[in-house]
């Protein structure tokens, strides 16, 4: 059975004083990063000093930071009870699994482990499992582990491996602060000095202190006059004998010094005359402990934060995790710095590799600072291979090609190549005049080939020449060749433009042979029939002719209509068949010219705020252009008629006619 966390037991309801400052600091560190700093965290204190409060506060704070965290709080008795019930029911494994999956396990009152060997073994197993999975375990007890009778040494060592910390009795100031805070919560007001008087009684158990406060509240409620400090002292009573004998308990555990004596023996330690002064040493010690803990363990916090940060950025942090697993690191700052430098190196390598080979972006090999060698090797290969060749434009798709009776042969050839690259028509050469759709088809085919995997090179002949020149300039021709030779398909637009470019032709010739030899697909387009190719070496031309040369017909009305319908549907949502039919029937020698007509109609319709139709298009395209069609200027918005062409235009006031004479409509009528 798991007890729900008491909503009142939070860090902000905890009064922090010298006695518990260190424990609270450690508890907060654990709540902020469970499993990374002090694991396990073992808090011990006499009853009534706030162990359970701290434990639940850790649970609340951790959950506030990460609501998905599974937090389980239970007392040792409940832990034992659940174990016995599970064993009796034959569900031992289920019991274990239940606790192994908890992110933050809070176990109260573990002093009851005394003489429970089987539970100790179970807790040992659980602690190991949780630690191994970076899950946090926090335990509380009324005494340090070493003093829990018959506790397994291995458990003591496990606890010592985390942080063992104690909460000592609150000092006077803390007691006053606790009384004030609780009185405020209870909305009880007391006269000056009353709470202070109670605090001087030396009740060092917070529960008893609150009991005393309750007594004060109850008596003040029935008393006519406000309580006086001396009355309060009497009322709570007997406190004077308590003295300040709260010594011998410190925030630190002296592993090498004699163990802290049991609570009952504590007063015996105090040399009588110096007793009041002991709190001075206690305060001193707790502050020193806090400083040391802060300084010494600061690196754990930093490493923990670094782990979270770099894991968040997708890097493996095994090196840092290994640091945390060590009890002490000679130079944690340096280890952290080294790790971060390695991460920076990886980031640099990844950026470079991604530029060379986009497929390497986000590659896991650049995420493990423990294995820089692998990353370097991948980068070396990427450098050798250079950036990928230019890819086909994804704007064009094979399935968007318009097939008509006239271009069926071409479209079928293209589809056949896409289906079986390098097998049939190799090379495929598409011949056709400008704006017949060669480039469209080339890129669409390129995309289809790229989908089969591997780098596909798709570029125009001038680009090919330009890259070659640049490679020569950088003395990197070999790398440049490598890029294209690794391509699974090579598509060159406007091959006729390599005319008279000897070096380009030479490179293309070699590349052609290499790729053909490797069974890769080659596709070319040319605006000039191959037979008429001038300035191209015969050996290259003959190779181009060796595959399939198909001629793209001028786009007929049917193609134009399909293209226009597609475009209209894209832009307006619907395609008016009459409108596309009309536009396609207009004389246009290329797809682009037909598209320009459509553009004109759409802009005019948009200006008038209407949906274009065939009649509108006809009126627009067939009526002779008149000045009347120009938008008439609205009355009152007269200007000189000189339109400044931009910032560079003359804006001299002398050259501007600022006041136009009032001529009304007359001038325009005459002008017509």
């Amino acid at each position: 059975m798991t007890v729900t966390l008491n909503p009142l037991y939070r860090f902000d309801t905890l009064v922090v004083g010298a006695a518990n400052r260190l424990a609270v600091t450690a508890a907060k560190a654990v709540a902020e990063a469970p499993g990374t700093v002090y694991n396990p965290l073992f808090i011990y204190a006499r009853p009534g000093l706030g162990k359970t409060h701290l434990l639940m506060a850790i649970g609340h704070a951790a959950r506030a930071i990460n609501p998905r965290l599974t937090v389980e709080y239970l007392t040792l008795d409940e832990f034992v009870e659940a174990f016995h019930a599970a064993i009796a029911a034959g569900h031992g494994e289920a019991y274990r699994k239940r606790f192994h999956d908890v992110d933050l396990l809070l176990v109260d009152d573990v002093q009851f482990l005394t003489h429970r060997r089987e539970m100790q073994a179970e807790l040992l197993r659980l602690t190991d499992a949780l630690q191994a999975a970076n899950r946090q375990i926090v335990l509380t007890s009324d005494r340090p582990p070493a003093e829990i009778e018959a506790l397994d040494d291995r458990l003591i060592r496990r606890f010592a491996g985390g942080l063992i910390i104690d909460v000592s009795a609150p000092d006077y100031e803390t007691r006053v602060a606790i009384l004030r805070r609780k009185a405020e919560e209870r909305r009880a007001a007391f006269g000056d000095g009353v709470l202070e008087a109670v605090a001087t009684l030396g009740i060092d158990n917070v529960r008893e202190l609150l009991g005393a406060l309750n007594r004060l509240i109850a008596f003040q409620a029935v008393s006519e006059k406000p309580l006086r400090p001396d009355e309060a002292r009497l009322l709570v009573g007997g406190g004077a004998e308590r003295g300040e004998a709260i010594n011998g308990r410190h925030v630190v555990e002296g592993a090498h010094s004699p163990p802290a004596p049991p609570v009952t023996a504590a007063p015996a330690l105090a040399p009588p005359p110096a007793a009041p002064g002991f709190s001075e040493f206690d305060d001193f010690l707790s502050e020193i402990a806090a400083t040391v803990a802060h300084q010494v363990d600061a690196w754990r916090g930093k490493v923990g934060a670094a782990i979270l940060r770099w894991q968040g950025e997708g890097f493996r942090t095994t090196q840092l995790e290994a640091l945390l697993a060590q009890e002490m690191v000679a130079d944690p700052a340096r280890a952290l710095r080294d790790f971060e430098e390695d991460v920076e190196r990886l980031q640099g390598m990844q950026t470079e590799a991604a530029a060379l080979a986009p497929a390497l972006a986000g590659s896991a090999v650049f995420r493990d600072p423990a294995d820089l060698g692998a990353a370097r090797e991948v980068l070396r290969q990427a450098r050798e291979e250079g950036p990928p060749p230019p890819a086909p434009s994804p704007l064009w798709r094979l399935d968007a090609l318009v097939e008509t009776a006239a271009n069926r042969v071409v479209v079928e050839a293209v589809r056949a190549v896409a289906a079986e690259p390098g097998q049939g028509y190799n090379p495929l050469v598409l011949v056709g005049a400008g704006s017949f759709g060669k480039t469209h088809m080339l890129h669409a085919l390129g995309i289809a080939l790229a989908e089969r995997g591997g780098p596909v090179a798709c570029l125009s002949a001038p680009e090919f020449t330009g890259e070659l020149i640049e490679a020569i300039d950088r003395d990197a021709v070999a790398a440049w060749r490598g890029r294209y030779r690794r391509a699974t398909a090579f598509l060159l637009d406007d091959v006729h433009l390599i005319a008279d470019k000897d070096r380009t032709q030479e490179e293309l010739f070699v590349l052609f042979n290499v790729l053909i030899g490797a069974g890769r697909q080659l596709v070319f387009t040319s605006a000039v029939p191959l037979a008429q190719l001038a300035g191209v070496e015969a050996r290259l031309r003959s190779r181009l002719e060796g595959g399939l040369v198909v001629e793209l017909p001028a786009p007929d009305a049917a193609v134009r209509e399909r293209v226009l319908a597609l475009e209209l549907a894209t832009r307006l949502g619907t395609a008016d068949a009459e409108l596309t039919g009309y536009l396609a029937s207009r004389p246009a020698d290329s797809i682009r010219a037909a598209q320009a007509l459509l553009q004109r109609v759409l802009e005019a319709a948009s200006a008038k705020g209407i949906t274009p139709n065939a009649a509108f298009a006809r009126a627009l395209l067939e009526e002779p252009p008149t000045d009347a069609s120009a938008p008439r200027r609205a009355p009152g918005s007269r200007s000189s008629g000189i339109v400044a062409a931009g910032a560079a235009a003359s804006r001299s006031r002398e050259k501007m006619v600022w006041e136009w004479p009032e001529t009304g409509e007359r001038l325009i009528e005459e002008w017509r």
């Binding site: 011998g248 010094s257 040399p271 400083t291 300084q295």
Partner: protein, 200 residues
């Protein structure tokens, strides 16, 4: 001396109480000694002359137990204040992690304070330690004496504490300011732990 020994997991702080003769250095240590539970303190070694003046040095080891996995020990030393014991002062000063300069607030001891501070600086320098790099705090003792006999905390600060390090008024005989001073110097020294390897 190493402040932190990562291998042995030990923190050892050597704190030296420095100052002119009869300024109250030994009184500081005696007060601390009286307030530390027996289990935490070692034997206070005090070599005094017949007239009760410190002849060699006082030494008070404090076991603070295991803090964050480190066995933490403080060693408090005093130096003999009298000017003719400079060799001893140098010896005690060696390897110190922090210095408490205990000044005598009496106006008539003004020059002694300055001389002793100068001597501290010289002795540190002779060991290659720049006083600006070493944690130092000032304690102005005997502030309980009649105000016409002593310099105030501010006046003492003006006279000695030109680097504005932490300073504490004290009445070591009754314990006022003793632990505050010890805490002050300890914090300064322990904060150097963060420097990490440089103190390892």
């Amino acid at each position: 001396m190493s402040l932190v020994n990562f291998t042995a997991r030990e923190i050892t702080c050597k704190l030296v109480y420095y100052g002119p003769g009869r300024s109250g250095k030994t009184t500081n240590l005696q007060y601390v000694h009286g307030r530390v539970p027996e289990s935490r303190r070692g034997r206070m070694v005090s070599l005094a002359t017949q007239t009760d003046r410190t002849l060699f040095f006082d030494f008070l080891p404090l076991e603070l137990g295991t803090i964050s996995g480190f066995t933490t020990k403080f060693q408090l030393y005093t130096v003999p204040g009298q000017s003719y014991y400079n060799a001893t002062r140098k010896l005690v000063l060696q390897g110190s992690d922090g210095v408490v300069f205990v000044g005598d607030s009496q106006a008539r001891r003004f020059d002694d304070n300055l001389q002793s501070l100068q001597n501290l600086q010289d002795n540190l320098l002779a060991q290659g330690v720049d006083i600006r790099q070493l944690p130092v705090v000032f304690q102005y003792n005997k502030q309980d004496l009649p105000s016409d006999l002593i310099l105030s905390h501010e006046e003492m600060d003006d006279a000695l504490n030109f680097r504005a390090v932490p300073s504490f008024g004290a009445d070591a005989l009754h314990g006022h300011g003793v632990f505050e001073t010890l805490r002050g110097i300890s914090e300064l020294v322990l904060k150097r732990l963060a420097v990490g390897a440089s103190v390892a």
